[in-house]
């Protein structure tokens, strides 16, 4: 099965109203080529799920700025004033989720789990509307799984089968979202032959990866 695709094949994978999970922390580890392809595709009403909306010109920032996004589920928007402005103007729904809860909800969505119990948010506005449970005398919130139509991932290296290696702190959400979407698209800097990545060094197994595209300029 050939997973390697060219850039013109990426755009047609998107459609209006999709939920997109993205890797990256302040844009580090976000697949910028795929973000650009999403912009050019002009699809709208997107829901984005990831750590943060970065800066207006970094990470997924350009998608927020272009008005293609109607909802974001993130832990932080403070570095992107455009997100805040659109939220106040009523053009964008913002669900703020504690970072550790967000990544666990995605992990649940990708691992067949019905939810997770976390102490994070107990006694704060985060608990509003949620089921609270006491386990061993301690209070927890039931946090529910998150899944997406597409996960867009940035990796340093992939083999042609789709085994992935990430670089430094660019790993962040990437290996976790690879489990939680129906279609997993990876942008890589370096493509190698099957067998060239030591099995012990694989961070995301090929079985999770559907499409691989080589970074432009890589």
């Amino acid at each position: 099965m050939n997973k390697i695709v060219q850039w013109p094949e990426i755009g047609p994978m998107f459609r209006d109203g999709m939920t997109v999970m993205f890797g990256g922390f302040m844009g580090v580890g976000t697949p910028l080529g795929i973000v650009a392809a999403l912009r050019e595709s002009r699809v709208g009403q997107l829901t984005l799920i990831g750590n943060d909306t970065a800066m207006p010109d970094a990470g997924v920032g350009p998608l927020v700025a272009s008005g293609q996004v109607s909802r974001v589920i993130v832990s932080h928007i403070g570095t992107n004033p455009t997100t805040g402005k659109k939220m106040i103007a009523g053009e964008l729904d913002v669900d703020l989720v504690p970072q550790g809860t967000l990544i666990e909800r995605i992990r649940c969505g990708g691992s067949g789990l019905g939810g997770v119990l976390t102490p994070t948010g107990v006694g704060t506005v985060v608990e509003e509307g949620k089921t609270k449970m006491a386990v061993g005398g301690k209070e927890y919130l039931l946090e529910l799984p998150l899944r997406a139509d597409i996960a867009i991932i940035k990796a340093k290296r992939a083999d042609r089968a789709g085994n992935l290696v990430y670089e430094r702190a660019a790993r962040n959400f990437n290996p976790v979202i690879a489990f939680a979407a129906d279609l997993v698209i990876v942008e890589v800097d370096e493509l190698v032959e099957v067998g060239e990545i030591d099995p012990d060094m694989v961070m995301t197994p090929a079985a999770l990866v559907d499409k691989i595209v080589l970074s432009q300029g890589a």
């Binding site: 922390f25 932080h76 970072q99 976790v176």
Partner: protein
């Protein structure tokens, strides 16, 4: 001595040999400068690694701190994904977290993630850090620029976590919170208990011997 330096110097004394420490953005990042000689700690970065160090030379791809700013890695550093990072944080594997604050109250609750109608940056990893770290130190100036105390009977801003703060260090005083008691541990040189009382909204216990904040050059 500037208020921030007084606070950073005093917080540094709380970090012991071998501790795993997470430092929030801003004032807390000043703390490592004032560590006692011979004390080795490991800094955790919520975006996915242990072994954060100062940037030396050119920025390296993918090596940024939790503020998205290029940083260094010390020998022996370890990189991981966000789920692992927050398992470390929530699972009690971080000995101390030092965070800035907007308000703290006598129940040990912290507010530091939003000001309704003014600033909604999102909680990022702060709620998980305050819920999960073994010791939570709030490092902040005692009063706002307008002169209002940040240490209250009850926080009136949305909480980051309820009853999780162990220590508050300001340029005027050090408080500890244990077993529901808010205790004045130390005052800064030249600061009387009376002054602390005037600038503090919380009720606190004054032990017979209130210590003096030691700010000697490390």
């Amino acid at each position: 001595m500037e208020a921030k330096e007084i606070i950073a110097r005093r917080v540094a004394q709380e970090l012991k040999e071998g501790y795993v420490v997470n430092l929030g953005i801003g004032l807390p990042t000043m703390v490592p400068r004032f560590l006692q000689k011979g004390i080795n700690i490991t800094l955790q970065s919520e975006n996915g690694f242990l072994g954060l160090g100062p940037l030396e030379g050119e920025p390296m791809p993918g090596v940024v701190n939790a503020g998205g700013v290029p940083c260094g890695l010390v020998p022996g550093a370890a990189m991981f994904d966000s789920a692992t990072s927050f398992a470390l944080i929530r699972g009690g594997h971080v000995d101390v977290t030092v965070l800035g604050g907007l308000q703290v109250d006598e129940e040990g609750s912290l507010a530091n993630w939003m000001v309704p109608g003014k600033m909604v940056p999102g909680m990022g990893g702060a709620m998980d850090l305050v819920s999960g770290a073994r010791k939570v130190i709030v490092a902040m100036e005692h009063c706002t620029k307008e002169g209002e105390t940040r240490i209250l009977e009850r926080c009136n801003l949305p909480l980051t976590a309820k009853s999780r703060v162990s220590m508050v260090v300001t340029e005027l005083a050090v408080f500890s919170i244990s077993h529901g008691e808010f205790i004045l541990l130390e005052t800064a040189p030249g600061v009387s208990v009376k002054v602390v009382r005037e600038r503090t909204g919380a009720r606190f216990v004054v032990p017979e011997n209130v210590g003096r904040m030691a700010l000697g050059i490390a």
